[in-house]
Assembly symmetry: C2
Homo-oligomer: 195 residues x 2
DNA sequence: TAATATACCTAGCGCTTGCTTGGTTTCAGA
DNA sequence: TCTGAAACCAAGCAAGCGCTAGGTATATTA
């Protein structure tokens, strides 16, 4: 076994880094800032990570993994196509705006800051995630709930949801649930099915 | 008159900067890189701009102005609500992906890199732009072409269109016109009206 | 043709960045 | 209680950053 289980401190660093990367961007978050936010000196970070990019990698991996698990769970618990479509939208928005939201946000906004090598390692999780989405959208188009090209629909819907990180603030005017309701309505032209 | 008309060189710098800011981001575009891409030495940039942020300001101002003029023109040439909705979508996508696309893209992706002071100066153009959008969407909802809360619809539609900068490459698989068609279909559930 | 402003270059300053090195503390297991 | 590894710190290096100062070309106008 070469994989060492992440230490408590490492987990803390990933969590704090996620917050800072979201607030200031990866480039403008210095190792000194991250260190002082954790009560460490800057040099000590490199006992836990070999370089700054490895921190970003850990954050994004965490964000992708979490969001994947969330929608897998959502889809397991819902069978009807209307329920499934709403569930995947809601799941996506929950990991973007709920608790521990920062990592998923960073995995979207800072993907471009990863090295090509890192992208290669993480693309599998992303592809998995998108495959789940594509499946649901294909079904929804077949059922006549959505209209248009399924692949483009996936990009349009995910795009509009991802873009919410630019403007949505949970519980300010709208709850995450309400946001999901409205998104569902905009794309399907019908209200969310009552449970 | 305190406003001096921009020199040829300045225009060239803004255009090249737009390209580089889009390709590498503002933070990772050094003044040395921009200078050498224009055949200048790094110090000479500061004869045209007082600092690096002023370059970003000029790029974003250009991008906002251009896109505003485009949709104003589009709306002037179209009267029916279906045509107007399609026209504003198409106009937005054209400034994002057509010729001179870089500035509009940067005005979206690098807005957060502006100082608060700069944002204040430019927010007026952005507000104008969004007001045109809101107007069209309000009309479309009234006419029953779109379903849902008009304000949120604006955010969802613009979000999905803005997100295309992450994945769309003009003329590779789809033309900009086709992309606009598909977007219109996804949100309205009906095909674009024939001219 | 001389005067003047504009455009550019050379050289480098001062600062911040990610990261390293070498030594010290902390703490779990024998 | 001793020992070794893991976790941390103090100090600072090398490189890159935005930007400046002072001088030189180039072009315009009188």
């Amino acid at each position: 076994m070469t994989i060492t289980k992440p230490s408590l401190r490492r987990k803390e660093l990933v969590s704090v880094a996620a917050r800072l990367f979201k607030e200031n961007s990866f480039d403008r978050t210095t190792v000194r800032l991250l260190a002082s936010a954790t009560g460490l000196k800057s040099g000590s970070l490199f006992h836990h990570f070999k370089d700054k990019e490895e921190i970003l990698f850990a954050v994004i991996e965490d964000g992708l993994q979490r969001s994947l698990e969330t929608i897998q769970q959502e889809l397991k618990n819902n069978t009807g196509i209307e329920e499934r479509l709403f569930a995947i939208i809601y799941g996506h928005l929950r990991t973007l705006h709920g608790q521990e939201k920062n990592a998923h946000t960073v995995s979207i906004t800072e993907w471009k800051s990863l090295s090509e090598e890192s992208k290669k390692k993480l693309i599998k999780i992303r592809d998995d995630y998108e495959a789940y989405w594509q499946q649901v959208i294909d079904e929804a188009v077949d059922a006549g709930i959505l209209k248009g090209n399924p692949q483009l629909l996936r990009l349009f819907i995910l795009g509009s949801l991802n873009w919410t990180v630019q403007w949505f603030q949970a519980e300010k005017k709208l709850s995450i649930k309400q946001l999901a309701d409205e998104s569902y309505l905009s794309f399907t032209h019908q209200a969310v099915p009552a449970k």
